[in-house]
Every structure is written in C-alpha cells, then in structure tokens.
C-alpha cells in the first residue's frame, strides 16, 4: 500500500469529499457510496483544471532489487513527490493554494468517514495500513478499499471545489460504469467520462446538458479491432488507439496472471499522449490497481514519468517492463494526429459546417469544430461535386483531409471511412500525387484487413502497380504470393498482373499496349512511371534498330497519342533525326541517350 501522503492537499481533498458527502443524502448502500466517491474524485480532479500530473510519483530510490530485499523500509523519509519532473515546465502552479481557500490546518491523521455504513468503507487508516489495496474506482465491488483521494495540485482556479454535480449527470456516470465488466473497460469509461465532464464544465453545459439521453461511451475491448488498427504508416490520420496499450495488453491475453494487471496499468500510464493529456490516464491508472499487490519501491526508470506501482511478487517483471517501455514508446509513429489517443476523448462532433479547412490538431479537439458523420457525408458529396466542376486539387485535398481528421477524432472506421479514403486516393491519382495516394492506400489496406468492405480488388490492382512504380520487388512478391484466385478475376488485378509480367520481362510493346487499355484508374498509376519506361524502351530500340526507324513506329510502340507528340518527345531528347523528320537515325542517337 502506498504511504499516506500526509499533507495539506490530501486533507483538503478529504474535507471536500466529506462536505460533498454531507450534502448528499447519506447513501444506504456501499455501491452508491462508492459511486459517490468516484464521482467526487472525478469532480475534484476536473475541478482543479489540471488534468495531469496528479498521480503520485513516489521516488523510491534507484535500487533494482526485487521484493523487500534491499529496501527494508516501506516509507522513505523523503516526502512523496507530487510533481513528476516532466511536469515542471507546465503552467500548473505547484504546492500553492488558491487564494480563496484558507490554509488548511496541520494534517492530522485522516479521520474516519462520517457515515460509516459499510464495514469496508472509507477507512483511510485501514487503507494505509493494509498491504494490499485495490485502489481504483470500484463501483459495485464490495470487497475493495476505495482509493484515498490523491494529493492533487491545487490551482488558482476559480471553480468551486464544492460544486455539486447534477443528479442526471450522476445517473449517467453510474449507467456508464454499470456497462463495465472488467477493469479495462472501467478504465476506459473513466477516461471517457473525464473528457466529457471536463468539456461540459468548461462550456458551462454541465447542468443544461441532457445527461439522461447522453450516449453511453463505446467500449473498445476486442483485441482484434484495437490492435489491428495499429497501422505503422507515416502520417496516418487514423487513430492508433493506445497502441502501447494495445500491444502490451495483447501479450497476456490468456488467463489473468499476476503480471498482467501491472502491465495493463503500465500501458495506461505510458500512453503516448503528450504531457498535457497524460494526466487523465495517469490519475486513473494510479487508481486502477485491481488486485492485492505489494508496493514496489523501485523508482529507477529510464523515462520521466514515475508511476507508483503496486507489484505482485514478480517485481522483476515490472522492472523489466519499465526498461522495455522506452523502446515500445519509440516505436509508435509520432506524427500529428497519431500522437494522440483519440479513444480517450470519444468526441461526438457538433459542428454543422459542410466545408471546413484542414488544421493540424495540436491539442484536444473541440466538439464544436468536429463534424458528425451525417455532416461529413454531405461534405464528401460537396467535395465530389466541386471536384467534378472545378478540378481544384488544393481545395479537394484540404477538405478531404479535414473530413479524414474528423473521422479519426471520432474513431469512425466503417464503410464511409473507406469511401472517403478511396475518393481521396482516386483524386490524388488523377493529379499524380503519389505521396498522398500512398498514404490513402496504406490506410485502405488496414481498413480492408479489418474486414470493412470497399473496392478491395481495385485497390489491390493499384497497389501492384504502385510497387512497380517504386520497384519494390519484395513487397510485390508478398502481394503476388497472397493473391487469391478470386482476386485474379477482377479486371484491375488481372491487368496489373499482366503489366507486371510484361515489365519484368522488359516487354515494352506489351507494356504499352496494356497501358492503352487500362481499366479504372490504372492508367493514372502507369502515368507515374511512364517516362521512365519510355526512356528504357527507347534505349533498347535505339541500340537494336538500324539504320533508321520511322517516328510513327516509335510512336506506336511507346503509346504516344500522336506522331507529333512523339516527335516533340524525341526532339526534347535531342535525338538525331533524318532531315525530313520522319525517321530517327538510330546509330547516332544511341550514343546520345
């Protein structure tokens, strides 16, 4: 059990809690009481305004030993650090009280709760003394001790700490928690609720919002969905939902072992969100110990965040986990929207603008600027119409990126998302923007792998041609190896495969013939590397034909639209032509290329 952070903050929190409890009708049953505790803690943390750095960072020295082997005393003499190092630059004031609240008296030992209904109720003393604590929001679990309110940073926030939450909100919270069946879900729900209530308080909606009809948060529990969305492509705008948690959670998927809760705990606290956003998870992670565990005092870690761990007897596991965390961290693509774990926020957009420019998000998204899916559908149609009319690529790209961003932020991954990406990919192809196309096609690959329907085969064909463009023989081999017979029947795929074999054998005649007859948008893809192919083919032609070759033949071979175009091309390369410009002098020209 963690040491009692006997100090002013904590006492203040306790007092606030008691006050809140006194305000309410004393709850007869423990579950409600627990819920109140949960609510109050949630409330307090939100109210403080600083949703970070509120977890304890007890620094227990640099020993690596496991168990109580070397560190004989539980409680070090140094006081617990309330702020982790990384938080120092942040604006939250430290260890200072708001001016309006009076300085608290010297901390006495924590008093027992006023309503001592349940035997295992708010017994701080017991919680302190006990080795085992399950410190988490444990609504409905009668056997666990509640978490004592953590010492939080106080701020000069003018928000009243005794602000009462309206009953509908409390009902909503309890409904959300009732959905949960395990710890992970509970963690998620806590975070989602935090986000919502923060926003509600900030906007002043707390009392006016219709909590009774508020949608319950989506719970992402399935391993496959959360983990398969990890798409390590650069600059993706899809959420890589808590990739750390996804990865580390997947490891101990089989029966709950003593190692696993700690790991999940770790994953939570190691979420990649920037410091500002780290705290919701951090706060809750501290509270989310789920089994009787022994406290760990090994503080030495390589990364800055120091989260106090309650260890099982396998301390070595956790220590090593700590060591492995930095590498896991580095893995995660840090790029723009990726750096933020969107599932935390569970934003439901409210903006009704059909057209919205793209702005790279650097902070928590505001639901007022995020469009819900219905509006996004209209937006997509608008973009498509405008594209057909004006072919304004910058506009289309901008709008589509913003649609993609809104979808990412709201964690929407369905046929509509596929449609958006496909549209963007096609538009990018038309304009020859291969980077954008590559981004979209990678996202589409991930979406298709998740089983979402779309034009799978068409884009498979494009993918094959893209690998020709990048001359990526390895990935090409992979794709070909996994081609199903059903895919072979698709015209785009069949064409792409033929193009590939023509290209591999340097059969430029067939290559250009196939280019002439490209289905769907394959032609645009081939356009991307057409100049390169033409040059190679021309080299071979000039070496092998003597003495001259008519321009018309070359135009035909290299799929030029007209002889004149071919002539321009040849003249650009300063090849030697016959005086009447109808033939190429191959011998002389060969030396030039």
């Amino acid at each position: 059990m963690e040491s009692v952070p006997v100090n002013e903050h904590w006492l203040k929190a306790v007092q606030a809690l008691q006050q809140m409890q006194q305000q309410d009708v004393p709850q007869a049953n423990y579950a409600d009481q627990q819920q109140d505790i949960a609510l109050s803690q949630l409330q307090q943390q939100l109210v403080r305004g600083t949703l970070y750095n509120s977890y304890n960072s007890y620094n227990y020295g640099t020993g690596h030993s496991f168990g109580y082997g070397n560190n004989q005393s539980y409680y070090k003499s140094r006081p617990p650090r309330l702020i982790s190092k990384a938080s120092q630059p942040l604006p939250a004031p430290t260890l200072s009280f708001p001016s309006e609240t009076p300085p608290p008296p010297p901390p006495p030992p924590p008093p027992p709760p006023p309503s001592s209904n349940a035997p295992s109720g708010f017994s701080y003393a017991a919680a302190v003394k006990a080795n085992s604590s399950s410190v988490r929001f444990s609504i409905g679990k009668q056997t666990r001790f509640p978490a004592p309110p953590r010492p939080l940073l106080t701020t000069p926030a003018s928000v009243d700490t005794n602000q009462d939450w309206p009953q509908p909100l409390k009902d909503y919270v309890s409904r959300c928690f009732s959905l949960c069946t395990n710890h992970e879900e509970r963690d998620r729900v806590e975070l989602i609720l935090k986000g919502k209530v923060t926003i509600a308080i900030r906007d002043g909606h707390m009392h006016t919002r219709d909590w009774a009809n508020e949608a319950l948060p989506k719970l992402r529990i399935e391993g496959s969905s959360s983990s398969s969305t990890v798409a390590p492509t650069p600059a993706t705008t899809l959420p890589t939902p808590t990739t750390v948690s996804a990865m580390t959670k997947e490891q101990p998927t089989t029966p709950q072992k003593t190692y696993s809760p700690v790991r999940k705990l770790r994953s939570r606290s190691r979420s990649r969100s920037p410091r500002k956003r780290a705290s919701p998870e951090a706060v809750f992670s501290w509270s989310s110990e789920s089994s009787p565990e022994v406290r760990n005092k090994k503080g030495r870690r390589k990364n800055k965040k120091k989260v106090k761990k309650f260890e099982t007897t396998a301390k070595m596991a956790q220590r090593a986990e700590r060591f492995s965390q930095p590498s896991l961290r580095k893995r995660i693509p840090q790029d723009g929207d990726d750096a933020i774990d969107w599932t935390v926020y569970s934003i439901f957009g409210r903006c009704q603008e059909i057209e919205k420019p793209y702005l790279r998000l650097t902070s928590a998204p505001d639901p007022e600027t995020v469009r819900p899916v219905e509006v996004l559908k209209k937006a997509l149609r608008r973009v498509q119409e405008k594209w057909v009319q004006t072919h304004d690529y910058n506009y289309a790209c901008d709008q589509l990126k913003s649609i993609r961003q809104d979808l990412t932020v709201q964690c929407v991954r369905d046929e509509f998302t596929v449609k958006v990406y496909e549209t963007h990919a096609r538009i990018a192809l038309e304009k020859g923007d291969h980077e954008e196309f590559n981004q979209c096609q990678n996202q589409l690959k991930a979406l298709y792998e998740d089983g979402i329907l779309g034009s799978n085969n068409e884009f498979l064909g494009y993918r094959i041609l893209y690998y020709l463009f990048t001359q990526n023989s390895l990935d090409m081999a992979q794709v070909l190896a996994h081609l199903s017979s059903e895919s072979h029947r698709d015209p785009t795929v069949a064409h792409a495969v033929k193009v590939r074999s023509a290209w591999a054998l340097r059969n430029f005649v067939r290559f250009f013939q196939l280019y002439r007859r490209s289905p769907a948008m394959s032609g645009y893809l081939l356009d991307m590397f057409l100049p390169r192919e033409r040059k190679w083919a021309l080299k071979a032609i000039l070496k092998s034909y003597r003495p001259t070759l008519s321009v018309t033949t070359v135009a035909d071979m290299l799929a030029f639209k007209s002889t004149a175009e071919c002539l321009d091309y040849l003249e650009e390369l300063s090849l030697v032509l016959t005086p009447d410009k109808s033939k190429i002098d191959c011998k002389d020209s060969a030396a030039l290329l």
């Binding site: 070595m316 220590r319 033949t553 071979m557």
Partner: protein, 398 residues
C-alpha cells in the same frame, strides 16, 4: 539433469558466476540445455527462491529463465517471450555495467537466441488467435536485441581480447534472421554496414561468417545485385560445414537462381544430392531454350518457389530461354539475315500465345540491348541481321 533439484541448479549457476564461466553459465540459462526438461525448474514465481542463492544482478536473469521454462511447459509462448525480454534486460544491464570483461557474452547470445525462438512461437500463437499483427512480437524482439547491439558496438575503449565488440556479428545474425522473417530488409542495411566496416570482420568465427554471408547474399539477390550475391552465397556454400546439410540446402536454394542468371547451369547430380530437383526442370528448360518446358516447370513448382521467394528471380531466366531458343533458330537457318517471322513461328511452336511481330521484335531488341545478341533489326526489311562472328556470345562472363 532432469532430476537435479532447484538448489543444486542454483548452486551450479552461482559457481559459474563466481568462476566467470561464460559458457557454463550460458548452458544454465539456455533453453537448449537438457535441464529445461526438469519439472523442478519450471517455476512460475521463482524470484524468492532464486534470490536466496543468487545475488543481483544475476538473479533476474536466472529467475526469468526459470519462469520462461514454466511458461513454455504450459504452452503460453507469449508469456515466455515476455519473461525472456526481462531476462534479456537483465543480462544487458550486467554487460553494460561490467567494463573490460566479456566473459558474459555467451550468456547473452543464448538469451537472444531463446528470445527469438520464443518470439517466433508467440507470433504463431498470436496468429492462431488472430490477435495483433503478424510479426508484431518479432519486431519488438528485434528492438530489444538492437539495444544489445548498440551496447556492444559502443564498447570501443576496451582491449580487443575483452572487448564486447565480438558480440557484434552474432547479434547481427540474429537480427538479420528476424528482419528476413518479418520482411523488413531495409533495416538490415545499417547492420551490414557496421559489420563491413568493423575491424573484426574477418576474425569472427567461421560459423557466424557463413550465416552473415548467407543473409547478405540473399539481400543482394533481392536488390538485383547478382555479382555480390554470387560472391557471398558461394562463400557461404563452400565454407558451410559438410554435415550441415539443411543449411547447405538453404544456401543452395538461393545460390542456384543467382548462378543460373549468371549463365552457369547446375549439374543434376548436385540437385539430386541436395534434394532440389525442382530446379532441374527449370535448368533443363533454360539450357535447351525450351520455353514451353520452362513455363510448365515454373507453374508446376510455383508454390515452392514462391515460398522460397525466388519465383520472381527465376522469371528473369525467361530471357535466357529466349536467347537459347533464338540461338537454335539461328543455327538451323545457317544465315546471317533472319526474317523475324521465323522467330515468331518458333515462339508459336512453344505455345507462347499472343506473340506478334512487334513483340518478337521487342524481345530481340532487349536481347541486343543486353548484349546477348550481336546484331541489329532492320525494321524496313523485317529482318534480324546478326554479326558474322559469335553472334550469340556466351551467357557467362557478362
């Protein structure tokens, strides 16, 4: 070995540690050693017991190993992998802390090897449960091992004898194996450069060198650099121990296409010896210029070739087949001015569909461009005119 008690096992371990016996200690924590079949050493929570007899920093390693043994015995490979990562961290820490000593290196080799095995098993298990991405676990393992590599590479100040840089090549080999498995060949480049530039590159053990050359040769082959691939793979093949038949077969699987592309066809006896008869049909078809047989051979053994990853390379042999076929045509015609229709007929005979005059000219143009035929095409007369001297130079030495 299967009957030793935990205490005597730990006693062995502590003796090895005290004696600085790297090899002995490596055996104790390696999964290949028979002690892993000892049920008394399969402990789910070994820390307390281990701590009693082994001092830090070795206790983590030993405890990790014992727990991994347990995990394997209950077939929880993911857990085994995870535990092994802790063990790896432990040994890495030891290595980093102890300067001017490298007796611990064999231990690290074994731990890394076990990590790779467990990662493979964990990956398979995950794939069966369709959890996570395939190759996920292996990637993470690769990162861990990369950490070890970095730690060893930076040990420049110690004397050669006690330097940790001897670990470079073994670790690199493990990493190469993982990268090839997960198809991330671009990550191999820095490792290969590091080894090539190292001063120890010719002094590593022969076994490690063979492994290294094999992988670098394969990579060169995928990159299209057939000369380098030939050099490295030949070295690997010749230096590989006679009794490692499986390894030799593997090397040969990649050496054969490379050699064939450079013009050397294998003897059937060789193929027979190494059980690679799939190449026999292909080789025969290429040698005789029999396009039909070539196509049939490729499609018949398609699965095998794709699995080895050589299918696309073998496709390139089609050009050689064309060259051989056209050479035969030339020999039959006995003239230097060959109408292109003859070639078209030859191709039609070989059941190459859709080949018309233009495509045939295209094939010829490519052959001329690659210097496989000396001559030129006259478009006006629709003829191929070949040189009077050696119009079809040998495929070798090009």
């Amino acid at each position: 070995m299967a009957q030793t008690s935990l205490v005597s096992y730990l006693h062995n371990v502590s003796i090895c540690i005290n004696d600085k016996d790297g090899v002995g200690l490596a055996e104790c924590v390696s999964f290949k050693h028979p002690h892993v079949s000892n049920p008394r050493l399969r402990l789910e929570q070994p820390e307390a017991d281990v701590q009693r007899m082994i001092d830090p920093p070795w206790d983590e390693l030993v405890a990790g190993h014992l727990r991994a043994c347990w995990a394997i015995s209950v077939e929880d490979y993911i857990e085994a992998y995870t535990t092994q990562t802790y063990a790896l961290q432990a040994i890495l820490k030891v290595i980093q802390q102890q300067k001017d000593e490298n007796w611990q290196l064999p231990v690290m080799y074994d731990v890394i090897l076990d990590l790779r095995y467990f990662a493979n098993l964990a990956d398979k298990q995950q794939r069966k449960k369709s959890v996570g991405r395939p190759g996920d676990v292996l990637e993470k393992a690769a990162e861990q091992i990369m950490g070890c590599f970095r730690a060893c590479v930076t040990d420049t100040r110690a004397e050669i004898r006690v330097s940790k840089r001897w670990a470079m090549l073994p670790i690199t080999n493990q990493l190469l194996k993982i990268y090839f498995k997960i198809n991330k060949l671009h990550l191999c480049k820095p490792l290969i450069t590091a080894i090539e530039n190292s001063d120890l590159r010719d002094h590593f053990s022969s076994a490690q060198q063979v492994t290294f050359r094999y992988f670098v040769g394969r990579k060169a082959m995928f990159d299209g650099d057939y000369r380098t691939a030939d050099e490295y793979l030949s070295y690997a093949f010749s230096q590989c121990h006679r009794f490692s038949k499986n390894n030799k077969r593997r090397i040969l699987t990649y050496l054969l296409p490379v050699k064939m592309l450079l013009g050397h066809m294998p003897k059937v006896a060789l193929l027979h010896k190494y059980d690679l008869m799939q190449f026999a049909d292909v080789a025969n078809a290429v040698r005789t210029g029999n396009l039909l047989q070539f196509n049939e051979a490729l499609s018949q053994h398609e699965g095998f070739f794709i699995r080895c990853g050589v299918y696309l390379i073998l496709e390139k042999l089609k050009i050689h087949t064309y060259r051989n076929l056209f050479k035969k045509v030339y020999l039959i015609m006995k003239t230097h001015q060959l109408p292109i229709d003859i070639f078209v007929d030859a191709l039609t005979l070989m059941k190459e569909v859709d080949i018309d005059n233009d495509e045939c000219q295209c094939i010829l143009a490519n052959l001329i461009y690659e210097n496989r035929i000396k001559g030129y095409i006259s478009h006006q007369h629709n003829k191929l005119v070949v040189s009077k001297q050696n119009p079809f130079p040998s495929l070798v030495n090009q």
